[in-house]
């Protein structure tokens, strides 16, 4: 009887998740001429990704940028999200309104957010630099998205601007679940506010931190829309914002060579295996940490 109820979900899962994944794996092992398979390639497509210039360099460069994207997001988006959650927890006034306000950028597609910010930051017509110049800060009016040193940090900040409400909501929920007695006990024992946070609150947030970290990791390593809108398919300028999603897009669609399907499938498989593997490891790590809390 139970099987009957599971069947629809299993079918949906198979058709929409398992089938495309298996297809990509299958495609990645063949040689392609357009949409025609011409023979078994073994690991040939994978070797091409690591051996054919310039993919060999772009792959590692993009991977490095994804790692920076993740580190930057953890540092900016998730710490600010935690700070907002703590402030809202402590000073309850306007909580509902602020929560809604911080989460509104969710409703907008990353492509749109990226496009809007690239307009705001446009060095020729954009209002950000006009404002800076009007305020006498001419030296601050940089070509934000046109400088190899500022472009990736700007993308990270805009991404954080869009998603900061997400860790805030999760941390808020986790904070609400910590019994008030713990804080009282800490206060009675003479703990300072920082000590109470560091020794009581933070450890009890471990499950939430785990969830936020893993989801941030998955989101950042799959980043595409925002970066594409702000930096184009080549990760402009000079590849300083190139990420794996853009590399995949270029190999699969932009350059559109006869080998495109094989190589892009191989890259998709590598990305999936890496993201899936690290997520599993991270989840089990956080679960062990949680168990130690009990």
């Amino acid at each position: 009887m139970l099987a009957v109820f599971l069947l629809p979900a299993l079918l949906l899962y198979s058709v929409f998740i398992v089938y495309p994944l298996v297809t990509a794996l299958d495609y990645s092992f063949f040689e392609w001429r357009g949409i025609r398979q011409t023979g078994f390639a073994g690991l040939g497509n994978y070797r091409d990704l690591f051996g054919v210039y310039p993919y060999d360099r772009q792959l590692w460069r993009a991977f490095g940028h994804n790692a920076l994207f993740f580190a930057g997001t953890m540092l900016i988006q998730n710490t600010v999200g935690l700070l907002f959650a703590l402030l809202l927890y402590r000073y309850g006034r306007g909580k509902r309104f602020l929560q809604a306000a911080f989460t509104t950028p969710y409703l907008v597609d990353p492509l749109v957010v990226g496009y809007l910010w690239s307009l705001l930051l446009n060095p020729t017509f954009g209002p950000v630099n006009s404002l800076l110049e009007a305020a006498g800060l001419d030296s601050w009016a940089l070509p934000w998205l046109g400088d190899t040193r500022t472009a990736l940090p700007i993308v990270i900040v805009v991404n954080a601007w869009q998603w900061v409400g997400f860790p805030m909501l999760l941390f808020s929920a986790a904070l609400a679940g910590i019994p008030a007695e713990y804080h009282e006990a800490a206060r009675v024992d003479g703990a300072s506010a920082w000590q109470a946070f560091r020794r009581v609150t933070l450890p009890l947030l471990t499950p939430a931190i785990g969830v936020v970290s893993v989801l941030t990791f998955i989101g950042n390593f799959n980043a595409f829309g925002l970066v594409y809108a702000m930096a184009g398919s080549t990760g402009s300028p000079a590849g300083s914002t190139d990420v794996l999603g853009l590399l995949f897009y270029r190999v699969a669609f932009v350059e559109g060579g006869t080998e495109a399907i094989g190589r892009s499938s191989a890259l998709a498989v590598l990305m999936f295996v890496f993201i899936f593997g690290v997520s599993l490891l991270a989840s089990s790590y956080f679960r062990r940490r949680e168990r130690r809390l009990l």
Partner: protein, 435 residues
Amino acid sequence: MKRRWIAGAIGVLAVALSACAPGGGASGQGGEAQGDKAGGDKVTLSLWSWRVEDVRAYEKILAKFEESHPKIHVEFKPFQATEYNNILATGLSGTAGPDVAQLRAYGGLQPLVEAGQLVPLDGKVEALSGFDAKLLEGAKGHKDGKIYGVPFAYQTLQVLYNKKLFGDNGVQPPATWDDMIAAAGKLKAAGITPFAVAAGPDATWTLPIVHEIFGNARYGSTKFRDALLSGEKKFTDPDFTASIKLLKDLEPYFPKDVVAVKIPDVQALFATGKAAMYPTGSFDLAPVLAANPSLEVGAFQVPPPPGSPVTTPVTPGWADGSFGVNAKSAHQAEALELVKWMATPEFGQLYASELKQLSAVPGVTPSDPLLAEMAKNYAANGAPYTLLVDFRYGQPNGDAVFRDEVQKMLVGQTDAKAVAESVQKGVEQWFKPGN
């Protein structure tokens, strides 16, 4: 709540399954069935294109075809240009694909040819023998040399200039490279951006174009291209390197922070009279004039830079694409009729006047005087845009490597020599000279 979810899931599943079922290509078959009812044995052809913005023009053009071919109805179906390649490749493999399709040129055509999805037109469309050989290359299979489409348009590369700004600043269309640099200096001193060039996120594909406009003569034009193809020369040749360096030398005359500048920005700079010259393709004339209809625009070919092997100005160009017949089409005879008609001056003239583009059909003259001038220049001094024409047949594309590296050069991370070396290193992984 849960029960409702399950019901919903089953509903979605049912839809999904019916979509997967064989014969699911309802749109194409439905269209034909309707056609049958309406006009007896009238045949409906479906024509696919990446030009969403041209729907009205094509309806007008195709109405003319239907006048002379009353038994054929053509349905124009455009798709988003950025998704077209995939939609077409998938469409051609199934039963609900097009009968006639707009095809990309050169390397963009190759995946469809190699997958055997198109009908070779050699001997079937006689008029093709009168087409310009350079333009036909864009519609040929790279290995078999067969023609798979009727070319519809070509693009030429030159510098557009603002006549009023030139007059106000006492500047003439330059006769020599030095004249051009002097003019650029004069305009810059007057607070005008001399060259509207973008190298921002959306504009990397225009960098090889800007390079062609300024550097084609410098690297040796057609002769150098032939030497590249035969293996006699490489991209690392000093002449090619010098042609890349021109872009860095000209950077002071580009907009400030050029790697952050986007295409709409430079179009606006030029259309609003803030920039005097716009090195670009013939395709940009219509959008610029749409942005400012009162703009007085002229065009000139860039005079050869000092040291050029070619001493007369050139107009680089390429075939934009072609119309070909789906090998799986159920109406091959009628589809062939349509592409045959697309090779006639009647179609060419309609295409040129409705879309303000340069028609590839021989003998068609554009009604717009500026386009006519570009066409004349191409006929007299035409040269291939070699990175696009010859080096898109493998991954990485020649121009994909080129644009990334040029952007690096503009931000100061690399120099012209290293750019040339990267291009050579990239293409020699798949390009075999002498074929």
